[in-house]
């Protein structure tokens, strides 16, 4: 997020696109509701009639995967009505003139044709956002999990830049990070191309800096580009990856195209899974290492607004389960590398030394309340919103983005468009929430949301068991007739292993971010005939 959670209630316009906020980020959803109560106008762009729609001034029900066309036509109107921020464009951005041209064909009429949103609504949304004083844009996987996810994100950036709506309090662009510490895992360098702190592994000087810190006796770090998670399963399949070490993840259920994932993991010579439960992924392991959960260890999590917060040990882990840090340190020792830390805070101390944005944060300072990075010195108050004084790389550039359809659209054979996602009560692959009786009572089984008209046409009823198939596989699942999905589209939450949505999904990747296209794939639906 470029803004912070407490700023949400002071927006005057909130534009939520591709985020079912009240279910995936319930407390941020509450803040949005509070803002609406205080007079903010809420624009929701989502193919599903999500709960947030009840609180909205405008709902743009665009077809899944048409976000670029929607955003471009909104920008077309903003440009035409001259609601752009010329001063901001001149002083802080570049490439506007040529970008401007690229919008010309995205008239509201064209927008309506591609997205299905009435042109009047597109114009209204443009006027609302374009005239706003403190608007915030919010998005999650509904924007990124597409084969053109990066282009979607560029489009959002273009919209904020052309209206100068970035780098002020209560004004900005806010991707909401899904899991509790997905921000922190990225910050800490658990991505192939960055060392901790977004320091690129292939920029000269940076590798040397980390070599000095980690290998002071003169050995060197790898200069090869690493693989992303999605690429790793491909590499396991073709045999170039032989072993994997998986800590606290369950790719069998969370990754697209489950059969592929299973086959890839099965092909490995050696698989280590370190987790708190015997997950579906752990069942494929050669070694399973029992880990401690959040309540059994000390450390920090970083939330979606970059706030580093203190996690505290409350109970002892069960049996012989151990903290992940202990396991990693012991393994390193046996492989000939000493990781010397007296207490877990020493690890954060080391990260602080290597990443200036974190230098001002230690356990003492965050004992009561967390601090938001960048926080470069011990007397720095943290940074609630980003880009106040300018952009790190000088001027921000506009990126021309053309609409291109999703990779796998419905056709005669697979006539429905499937999106996957989360629901309120379960979490991710359910390895935690599905162990809780009360939660299982309100959310006992997998379901597929289907529009009443489609259900009528197929002659299926609420609660019926149906077969859903894609080119990759099929699952049996219960029907939930609901006004939420658009006609012709269906939705399955991916938490349930009995009917794993990811048997159906496709591995088409966004070429830049390597995000799989989990929000769009083609499926067919067949009622199961009772014998």
């Amino acid at each position: 997020m470029t803004n912070s959670i407490p700023e949400i209630e002071n927006h005057d316009v909130i534009f939520v696109i591709g985020s079912n906020t009240t279910e995936t980020h319930p407390i941020i959803g509450l803040k949005m509701k509070k803002a609406v109560k205080r007079g903010a106008e809420l624009i929701v762009a989502d193919p599903r009639k999500i709960d947030l729609v009840r609180f909205s001034t405008l709902w743009l029900q665009h077809r899944p995967g048409t976000d670029v066309a929607l955003l471009n036509s909104i920008m077309h109107v903003i440009l035409k009505k001259d609601l752009i921020d010329k001063k901001f464009i001149d002083s802080r951005t570049e490439g506007f003139e040529s970008f401007k041209e690229s919008l010309s064909e995205y008239t509201p009429e064209q927008g309506e044709r591609i997205t299905g949103v009435p042109k009047e609504t597109i114009i209204k949304a443009a006027l609302l956002y374009g005239n706003a004083v403190r608007p915030g844009i919010y998005y999650t996987m509904g924007i990124t999990q597409h084969s053109h996810g990066t282009e979607n994100v560029y489009s959002i950036a273009n919209l904020a830049l052309m209206t100068g709506n970035l780098g002020r309090e209560c004004t900005g662009v806010n991707p909401l990070r899904g899991q509790n510490n997905v921000q922190g895992a990225t910050d800490m360098g658990c991505v192939p191309d960055f060392y901790p702190g977004y320091q690129k592994v292939n920029i000269p000087g940076i590798k040397e800096k980390f070599e000095m810190a980690w290998l002071p006796w003169g050995a060197s770090l790898s200069s090869n580009t690493g693989l992303t998670a999605t690429e790793m399963s491909g590499a396991a399949m073709n045999g170039s990856i032989k072993a994997m070490y998986i800590m606290g993840e369950n790719p069998v259920l969370s990754d697209p195209d489950m059969k592929h994932t299973i086959n890839a993991l099965k092909k490995l010579d050696f698989l280590i899974v370190q987790d708190i439960f015997l997950t579906e992924t752990a069942e494929l392991a050669d070694v399973i290492l029992p880990a401690a959960c959040f309540a059994e260890k000390d450390g920090t999590f970083t939330n979606t607004e970059r706030r580093v917060q203190r996690v505290r040990k409350a109970v002892e882990p069960p049996g012989e389960a151990k903290e992940d840090s202990y396991i990693i340190i012991e393994l390193a020792k046996r492989l000939g590398y000493e990781m010397k830390y007296n207490v877990i805070e020493d690890v954060l101390q080391e990260a602080r030394k290597l990443w200036p944005a974190l230098a001002g944060i230690d356990y003492g300072r965050i004992s009561k309340a967390g601090l938001q990075w960048p926080c470069p010195t011990l007397d720095h108050p943290g940074t609630p919103y980003l880009f106040k004084g300018g952009f790190p790389r000088g001027k921000a550039s506009f990126t021309k983005v053309e609409y291109r359809p999703s990779e796998e659209l419905p056709d005669a054979k697979y006539p429905f468009l499937l999106s996957t996602g989360r629901q309120l009560f379960q979490y991710h692959t359910g390895s935690m929430t599905r162990k809780i009786d009360a939660i299982n009572k309100v959310s006992p089984f997998a379901y597929i949301e289907i529009n009443p008209e489609d259900a009528d046409r197929l002659g299926i009823d609420d609660g019926d068991l149906i077969n859903v198939s894609s080119r990759r596989g099929s699952v049996k699942i219960k029907v939930m007739i609901s006004e939420r999905p658009l006609k012709g589209t269906v939705f399955i939450p991916f938490h349930f292993k009995e009917a794993p949505a990811n048997i159906l999904t496709s591995r088409k990747l966004d070429p830049i971010s390597k995000i799989p296209e989990l929000k769009v794939c083609a499926v067919k639906i067949e009622p199961i005939k009772l014998k």
């Binding site: 770090l221 069942e283 046996r334």
Partner: protein, 375 residues
């Protein structure tokens, strides 16, 4: 801004502040049962009465706006008598059940009765009987203990935006209820439970887990990226309840997962010992087909631990570490470090993730490290 005088002390507050807000600013205690700073004023319990100079009758401080030059008195024998009477009326149909009540020791009503020394009741009257039991899995609704303060109704409507409950019926029959007295069926955020001043609303999973001798541990919710601050109540190495206080970024609000989703910690299905696969694996590493048991359907995991002893055997940590390091060494020697990949976790701490990527980059020697940011 307006300036007024409370109990002889001057205070300046913003326009549209109530007398109660002003008194709280001066840290003057006024008893309340239906007031909540984030909710619309209600004025139902009449405990927050104060005297205002020039106004004949005492006024509810939670609904009366502070005015310039006002002179307010928050305590006098007369006010205390009124408050005491009002409290007695509230208690007149309250079951005397503190002994068994989950909120005993943490109940505003009990605390006020204690301060006012109330045990016997002059108005002892008909006790409301609600035989209806609500079978929802999260919230125990013990409506006999409800004092109709309306905080749950307001929070559900004004903060949560759900409106799952409302007042029903009139007079002595008034009660808070979901539509048609059905079982509660809502988002189960537990916001109503958090604000209820009595034992009328409690967490179902709190029952008989203990009301004393627990420690409170401040930490962060393990689920989504909001990063809500939570307080764990721990008794005998078990989390028995979760709450959140109002001074947090989440203002004390949580969702069903954060508030009620802690049972997994103590699940009998937790892994407790290192396991090594014993099911035979093909010798040839190039054999595609038969490596692991077929999936899905997945191996059954039963209560009380895993019952797939046919697949794995329990080993000591020492054995596990030796086995893992031996295999990793071999693979690194035979195929190079880039034949090994690591997936870290968006659910682990910063420190653990830092160590994990350091392990992959330094100890293994590869940049093949990622986590599930993309799903």
């Amino acid at each position: 801004m307006v300036t007024l005088k409370i109990d002889g002390r001057k205070v300046t507050v913003r326009k549209l502040s109530t007398i109660l807000d002003a008194a709280r600013k001066l840290d003057i205690p006024i008893p309340t049962l239906c007031h909540h700073p984030e909710l619309s004023p209600y004025g139902g319990c009449r405990l927050c009465l104060v005297e205002i100079e020039g106004i004949a009758k005492p006024a509810a401080s939670c609904t009366t706006f502070a005015k310039e030059g006002m002179i307010v008195n928050t305590s006098s024998p007369y006010l205390e008598k009124l408050r005491r009477t009002n409290l007695e009326l509230i208690l007149s149909d309250h079951p005397n059940e503190c002994m068994l009540c989950e909120r005993s020791g943490d109940c505003k009503l009990q605390e006020l009765a204690y301060f006012y020394g109330l045990r016997e009741n002059r108005f002892k009257g008909e006790i409301r009987v609600y035989s209806k039991k609500d079978n929802n899995p999260f919230v125990t609704r013990d409506m006999e203990k409800c004092i109709l303060c309306g905080q749950c109704v307001r929070i559900c409507d004004e903060i949560q935006g759900v409106g799952a409950i409302d007042f029903a019926y009139r007079g002595l029959n008034t009660r808070v209820s979901p539509p048609f007295e059905k079982d509660l069926n809502c988002e189960f955020c537990g916001q109503c439970v958090a604000v209820c001043p009595t034992g009328a609303l409690t967490g179902k999973m709190w029952a008989h887990k203990g009301r004393q001798n627990f420690k409170e541990v401040e930490t962060i919710c393990p689920y989504c990226g909001c990063g809500c601050n939570i307080t764990l109540y721990v008794r005998r190495n078990e989390i028995i309840r979760i709450s959140s206080n109002e001074e947090t970024i989440n203002e004390g609000w949580l969702c069903a997962k954060g508030r009620f989703g802690y049972g997994f910690v103590n699940s009998p299905e937790r892994l407790t010992k290192p396991l090594i696969r014993i099911a035979p694996k093909e010798n040839s590493i190039f054999n595609v087909k038969q490596t692991n048991p077929p999936l899905p359907p997945f191996t059954k995991v039963g209560r009380g631990g895993i019952n797939n002893a046919a697949l794995f055997k329990e080993v000591t940590w020492e054995e596990a570490f030796q086995y893992v390091s031996k295999r990793l060494k071999e693979i690194k020697e035979n195929y190079g470090p880039d034949a090994i990949g690591g997936l870290a976790s968006a659910r682990c701490t910063n420190e653990e993730n830092y160590l994990f990527q350091k392990f992959m980059r330094v100890v293994i020697g590869t940049n093949n490290v990622d986590h599930c940011a993309r799903y």
